[in-house]
């Protein structure tokens, strides 16, 4: 019993981390129809800068607040001055974000070196919780709670605000939205910056678990893509369910059939692609 409880919590914690990671990618992907390949870079830059900020100030909270905003600003600049020039040219945009991925990766290698940095947790989350015979790290509980809060916030924004309805409409039919007189380039920029914000946030929240190291940008991008494919484009609910599913399948896969550890995360993706190409909750496909 203890095994199942601990592993379920592990799976949920990993799933929530994946959700933070994939939510932004899903929105940008759904709205702009491009895979933002710099999404992984935003994650990695968030983690690295978070590492530096925590190292200098000792404050995890400061990093959580400041760093995602800074990366959102970076995303804003990138979209406003680079991507917007190629509005509608998906292939050019993919190439551009791919080029940016390499530039950010090389910059990080040059500035932070080839080492793996693990961010230090805030002191009050460093310990573990003991309930009966079960010991579980406090930080993972924090990750679960944060994931749920962000998911709720997002759901509220998307379903209850004007911006949210514009985004949803944009995902469904971008041309019609433009025809209604909504400034879609500005909407795109806002969503792109929001995606960058979420990626950086997941970099910091995930930093004490996953760490920041060269190549993390690619790994993270791949994971986020898997979730988006399973959950469906542009759907926050899909990203949430997809993340939980992948987190749980991966955790139990590793614990029960460790020989297939590399396989368990991609198997659900392959099955979904074959049976339901639009994803579980995809609005389009």
């Amino acid at each position: 019993m203890e095994f199942w409880i601990v592993q379920s919590l592990n799976g949920i914690a990993f799933g929530m981390l994946l959700f933070l990671l994939a939510a932004g990618l899903s929105l940008v992907f759904g709205l702009m129809r491009i895979v933002n390949l710099t999404h992984g870079s935003f994650y990695l830059l968030g983690a690295y800068i978070g590492f530096t900020v925590i190292g200098r100030t000792g404050s995890f909270l400061l990093a959580v607040v400041v760093v995602p905003l800074a990366i959102a600003a970076l995303g804003l600049v990138m979209h406003r001055f680079l991507l917007r020039r190629f509005q509608g040219a998906e292939l050019s945009q993919v190439l551009l974000t791919f080029g940016a991925l390499f530039i950010f990766a090389d910059f990080s290698l040059w500035y932070w070196g080839g080492y793996s940095h693990v961010l230090s947790k805030p002191a009050f989350l460093a310990g573990s919780l003991t309930i009966g015979t079960i010991v579980f790290p406090a930080y993972r509980i924090f990750v679960i709670v944060t994931g749920v809060i962000i998911a709720l916030l997002f759901w509220l924004i998307l379903e209850r605000t004007r911006l949210g309805s514009m985004v949803r409409a944009g995902v469904d039919d971008e041309e019609m939205v433009r025809g209604l007189g909504i400034n879609t380039p500005r909407l795109f920029t806002a969503v792109f910056a929001l995606g960058a914000f979420l990626a950086a946030l997941s970099g910091i929240i995930g930093g004490p678990l996953v760490g920041a190291y060269p190549g993390a940008d690619f790994e993270v991008l791949l994971l986020a893509l898997v979730v988006v494919i399973i959950g469906g484009l542009g759907s926050i609910g899909g990203a949430f369910v997809g993340s939980l599913l992948v987190g749980l399948i991966d955790t139990f896969g590793r614990a029960l059939v460790p020989e297939l550890a590399m396989f368990t995360i991609f198997a659900p993706m392959a099955i979904i692609l074959a049976l339901r190409p639009r994803g579980l909750f995809g609005r389009i496909g």
Binding site: F3, Y115, V118, P214, L233, P258, A261
Partner: protein
């Protein structure tokens, strides 16, 4: 505008190509030329300077540079030139970079390499091109210097059949453990290390009840730690580099630290390049090593001082092994009048290496693998530093554990033992 489904398929395709492009690397050819006498001696240094073992990797380069500094850039009257290449902890890239070093730079000797899979990928090429190669990083697979030995491949670091077994006996005799779980990164070298421990532990009388192999690059060890049987006497690990840091921190978070002792079957978590990042989570571990910087000897204290002065940190194993590899090259060059081009004579002299290295006296066996002391340490907090304290030294251990090579080779290979325990 392409249909979204196409956009999706396209993206997956693009990503696949990209991943392949990044992991593949490119190869370049060059024409070999006959080297002129008294030209510099070129030594290729291969190390995974980026990737999960980057922290250990710089020791390889710094060990080599330190030795070259100490001989004022000259061996047997010839200038020495180091050519450093990073292979990103990927076996395929290691082979590409070896070709570059041999064909374009025309190096006389290659040293370094962490990752057994990389050495095994290079071995055939090295043998075919007759390039003397001293494995001086942590590449520990038995087969590197055991079956089908190549006259060109030497090893100054250590082997999985050499360093872990004394710890297996130690865990049974001194730590009084009767059962063990082994956990290793899922790659040939790390698997062989825990198997070396497991065989010795069972021969001492213990029982290995569980084997766990998280892939290299695992970030979340929760599923594995959750699986560890809570009644075992000892957990034997080889989780290298950045993975090791995450493992030992999560081990503590799941409340196992202090309950089940962790022993490192070679310097993984306990490598000095990793230990400061592992911090107090690693205190209380035991480890087995071919070298630790806390060895008390004048030769080692001088080496540690020089290494600290050059780099600002303590030397780890790969630093010492590579420093010794260059000392071995220098010794062989001295015996052959600096004529490295007369390859047969140079190799013969290298085989006769007999050095007072920082770790102690080292020689090669007839399979060109180093014979050395094995040191067992406990990780303690001394002042505000986390240090390996020596608790036992086993003198003059070879890769055949005192058996004749023929006898040893009759036993199953370590890698073949994977999955045979805990059944």
């Amino acid at each position: 505008m392409p249909k979204p489904r196409h956009a999706l398929t396209l993206s997956v395709g693009v990503l696949t190509v990209l991943v392949a492009a990044v992991t593949g690397g490119m190869s370049r050819g060059a024409f070999a030329q006959a080297p002129a006498a008294r030209t510099p001696i070129k030594i290729g240094v291969l190390s995974p300077l980026s990737g999960p073992l980057a922290a250990l990797a710089r020791d390889v380069v710094d060990g080599a540079r330190l030795y070259v500094d100490e001989v004022h850039g000259e061996m047997a009257g010839r200038k020495v030139e180091l050519i450093v290449e990073d292979y990103e902890f990927k076996a395929a890239v290691a082979l590409t970079k070896t070709k570059k070093l041999v064909e374009r730079d025309q190096v006389h000797v290659v040293v370094g390499v962490i990752l057994s899979a990389a050495v095994l990928a290079m071995k055939e090429y090295i043998h075919a091109h007759e390039v003397p190669f001293i494995v001086s990083g942590a590449a520990v697979a038995e087969s590197i210097t055991m079956e089908k030995p190549s006259p060109y491949v030497f090893r100054t670091s250590f082997s999985a059949s050499q360093v872990p077994p004394p710890l297996g006996k130690f865990a049974y005799d001194k730590l009084k453990a009767r059962t063990a779980t082994v956990i290793a990164g899922d790659t040939v070298g790390t698997i062989e290390l825990v198997m070396g421990f497991a065989r010795a532990f069972e021969e001492a009388g213990g029982k290995v009840v569980q084997e766990l192999y998280p892939p290299i690059g695992t970030t979340d060890f929760g599923p594995y730690i959750g699986k560890i049987r809570r009644d075992v006497g000892v957990v034997a690990t080889l989780v290298p580099g950045a993975d090791g840091i995450r493992f030992i921190k999560q081990y503590e978070e799941f409340g196992l630290k202090g309950k089940i002792t962790v022993v490192d079957t070679a310097p993984g978590i306990t490598d000095i390049a990793v230990l400061p990042a592992a911090g107090t989570s690693a205190v209380g571990m035991y480890a087995t090593n071919a070298y630790v910087h806390t060895i008390k000897s004048p030769a080692n204290e001088k080496f540690v001082r020089a290494f600290r002065a050059k780099t600002g940190r303590d030397p780890g194993g790969p630093g010492e092994y590579t420093y010794s590899a260059l000392a071995a090259i220098n010794q062989a060059l001295g015996a052959t009048g600096g004529n490295i081009e007369a390859k047969a004579k140079f190799l013969e002299a290298l085989r006769r290496m007999d050095l007072e290295a920082p770790r102690g006296r080292i020689r090669f066996d007839r399979y060109q693998h180093v014979v050395q002391d094995v040191i067992i340490t406990r990780i303690d907090k001394v002042g505000d530093q986390i240090v390996p304290v020596i608790v036992e030294t086993v003198r003059g251990v070879d890769q055949f554990l005192g058996l004749s090579p023929e006898e040893y080779l009759k036993r199953p290979r370590l890698i073949a033992l994977k999955g045979t325990f805990g059944k």
